[in-house]
């Protein structure tokens, strides 16, 4: 049971453009406009725009809920209430958003103005781009590229570049060190991250999220054969998201606020938002690749998108739990861990996948 977003939007667009607007212009006598509105291209473009808007709004709402989840869950882990603005603290993020809207925009005198301004736009833009590839259910998705997995990770790969740009342009020593750390760390953890996905790809034989989930629905959730891969993926993903214990680029204790030190006002809000957008995407990929995506029991009663979101929130909850229980690790230790521990483990995972495939077990 799922909502077919595209079909629904197509119907809506058709009704809007042909039955309402077209009829109105036809009544006026502008048959040219009526025909143009009813033409295939116009319908298609409008449908795409409306779908994009819906996906953006839903994605943003989910990301905001993630911020709420983090603040509330971290609060409970620390034996306090957490945020309490609005019912169970749900409105806190909206209050923050309204506040950053009217904050003064300060550009440091010695900053490289162009790059300083472009970098947050790049970061939030790339983050929002990743909504495109994430399907919530068989019907609720933006696009269905054959190489969806590759596209998502390619978009992930742009972030360190933008971070380093912004860090350098701020003309602040803390930012610079934070940006360099971000670069080193993100590049070091891309490799095990991608290698841990290779096992999934070998088993399912596809780079398409829908086919991967279909495979899991037909056979078994991939976390069972690929438990090692899931572990490597989760750790690398936490590093990729720059969250504790791998939040070195934003290490508050020594680097003030890390590479975002000089960003205030709305730009700070955007960077904060993009962090959770990426958190949403990361948790979604883990769900899609290893936890069966929207697969789950009682599919005829429970909407599939709900299963997906539930799993995604649980994965993000694990990430929050890690933040509550662990300290930050050091620069040399993080690189050691990436290259010397996670990379071999990911390679072993690939071998396991190959063995499973050749034996024909899964």
């Amino acid at each position: 049971m799922y909502l077919d977003l595209w079909q629904l939007t197509e119907d809506l667009t058709h009704w809007l453009l042909v039955d309402v607007l077209g009829a109105f212009f036809g009544w006026l006598g502008c048959h040219g406009i009526e025909g143009w509105l009813g033409s295939e291209n116009v319908l298609l473009v409008t449908t795409i725009l409306i779908v994009a808007l819906i996906v953006l709004i839903v994605g943003m709402l989910v990301s905001i809920t993630l911020i709420w989840q983090e603040r509330k869950m971290l609060g409970r882990l620390m034996d306090r209430r957490g945020t309490m603005v609005g019912p169970i603290g749900l409105f806190q993020n909206f209050a923050d958003a309204f506040k950053v809207l009217i904050k003064e925009h300060i550009v440091p005198k010695a900053a490289d103005s162009l790059v300083y301004h472009v970098s947050p736009v790049l970061i939030i833009g790339v983050s929002i781009c990743m909504f495109v590839t994430i399907p919530y259910s068989p019907g609720f998705y933006m696009s269905d590229p054959d190489l969806g997995v590759i596209l998502t990770f390619a978009l992930f790969g742009i972030i360190p570049f933008a971070v380093m740009l912004g860090a350098w342009a701020s003309n602040n020593k803390y930012s610079l060190i934070g940006g360099m750390r971000a670069g080193a760390q993100l590049i070091a953890y891309e490799v095990p991250l991608l290698l841990s996905v290779v096992g999934v790809v070998i088993l399912t034989g596809s780079l398409n999220f829908f086919e991967i989930v279909q495979y899991q629905q037909d056979n078994i959730w991939l976390i069972v054969p690929m438990i090692l891969g899931f572990f490597v993926f989760l750790v690398s993903m936490v590093a990729e998201l720059e969250r504790t214990p791998f939040d070195l680029p934003e290490a508050e204790a020594e680097l003030v606020e890390g590479w975002g030190t000089e960003y205030g006002g709305m730009r700070f809000g955007l960077l904060m938002m993009s962090e959770y957008v990426r958190g949403f995407v990361g948790a979604s990929i883990a769900t899609l690749l290893f936890l069966g995506g929207w697969d789950g029991p009682f599919l005829d009663v429970v909407p599939e998108g709900l299963w997906f979101l539930l799993k995604m929130f649980i994965v993000f909850g694990i990430i929050i739990w890690m933040r509550g229980a662990m300290p930050r690790i050091r620069t040399d230790q993080i690189l050691n861990m990436g290259w010397k521990r996670l990379l071999p483990l990911a390679a072993v995972n690939v071998f396991i996948a190959i063995i499973f495939k050749t034996m024909g077990w899964f």
């Binding site: 034996d79 306090r80 060190i177 504790t244 204790a253 662990m326 050091r330 620069t331």
Partner: protein, 361 residues
């Protein structure tokens, strides 16, 4: 990357007070460092020359706000030394008990502060949660949360309130359970150990020469605790032992402080057993001090604190000079920092339990 100087401070999350650590880094490695202090210097030693002897007690409380009681304690002891006053036994017990409770409270603040230093906020909130209990105890004892104005020249202001023993024992029982929780969270967490072990080695000989005292010194394997080696009040009659670790790294300093908290609990229990139930708690000091000098030193939560008072026959001290433990430990900071990474600065400095009020005076 070329070498560059970085100012960590005056406003920086690492400082836990107000000072400026200038470090010269080569990439991530610290090659040189220099603490810059004096941002909180308010001329304490000059101002007390214009105050009556009893008026200085609340000012001594504000020397270090984390361990107020031990500062007013050392001040009163120095003036008693100058005036030649013998403190009643019950007052000595109460002082020692307050000292140990203060030590626990201060170490809990330190434990809270290293949490954000190492990147974990949970331990901060847990430690502060228990610190509130000890502040409650102090509130019932002397009416204030942090700056007590409780010690008096010749004794203490008042005896323990009714039900004091019951509350104290309950708090200590509860606190010992919580200590296990902290150790679960920190000691049994591999990442915490990774951050602390083998970091910033300081040999015992070097530490002694640099004037490092207190838990940092005992973390380097030097058996020296003023409560044991130069006993004051009634510490030589109590049942306790020194907490020493031989490793000399950050983890050892952490362990020494944790052990000290448990030891303080033991000392307080022992005091409760041995303290006389009644008796005078205060003798009346003379208004004017004689001509001469007085000196006292005690084991502050951070190390050796010493006060040297010169009297000139009037009711105001002619000169009162203070040895702050952290003042000297901070001068040893370059020896601990150089060669480590920027990421380790907060954990190394956090382990020293920085309190700038007493350092700058």
């Amino acid at each position: 990357m070329a070498e560059m100087w970085i100012n960590m401070g005056p406003q920086h999350p690492m400082t836990h007070g107000l000072w400026n650590l200038r470090i010269k880094v080569d990439g991530e490695i610290i090659v040189d460092s220099e603490p810059v202090i004096g941002y909180l210097h308010r001329g304490w030693e000059k101002m007390v020359e214009d105050r009556l002897y009893p008026q200085i007690i609340p000012m001594a409380d504000r020397l270090c706000y984390g361990s107020s009681f031990s500062w007013s304690h050392v001040y009163c002891m120095a003036v008693e030394d100058l005036m030649g006053i013998e403190v009643p036994e019950r007052a000595q017990y109460i002082r020692a008990m307050s000292d140990e409770l203060q030590r626990i409270g201060n170490h809990l603040m330190w434990l809270g502060a290293i949490g954000p230093d190492l990147g974990n906020l949970t331990i901060f909130l847990y430690a502060l949660r228990e610190r509130e209990l000890f502040l409650d105890l102090f509130t019932s004892l002397c009416g204030a949360r942090m700056t007590y104005n409780y010690c008096r020249i010749g004794g203490v202001r008042n005896g323990p309130p009714p039900n004091w023993e019951r509350d104290l024992v309950r708090t200590l029982d509860y606190f010992e359970k919580r200590m296990d929780e902290y150790e679960d969270l920190v000691d049994r967490n591999a990442l915490f150990r990774m951050r602390m072990e083998g970091l910033s080695y300081l040999s015992g000989k070097e530490a002694v020469n640099l004037g490092v005292t207190g838990p940092s010194l005992r973390g380097s394997g030097v058996k020296y605790d003023i409560r044991h080696n130069d006993p004051y009040e009634i510490y030589d009659e109590l049942d306790w032992h020194m907490c020493v670790r031989d490793e000399g790294d950050v983890y050892a300093r952490y362990r020494v402080r944790m052990d000290e908290m448990r030891m303080s609990v033991q000392i307080v229990r022992d005091i409760l057993k041995k303290m006389p139930k009644s008796g005078p708690i205060r003798v009346k000091p003379p208004r004017e001090a004689p001509v001469g000098t007085g000196m006292a030193r005690i084991e502050d939560p951070r190390g050796e604190s010493l006060m040297y008072v010169v009297g000139d026959g009037t009711d105001k001290p002619y000169r009162l000079s203070v040895r702050s433990p952290l003042f000297v430990i901070l001068s040893a900071a370059p020896a601990m920092l150089n060669g480590n990474r920027i990421a380790d600065v907060p954990s190394i400095m956090g382990m020293l339990d920085v309190c700038m009020g007493e350092t700058d005076r």
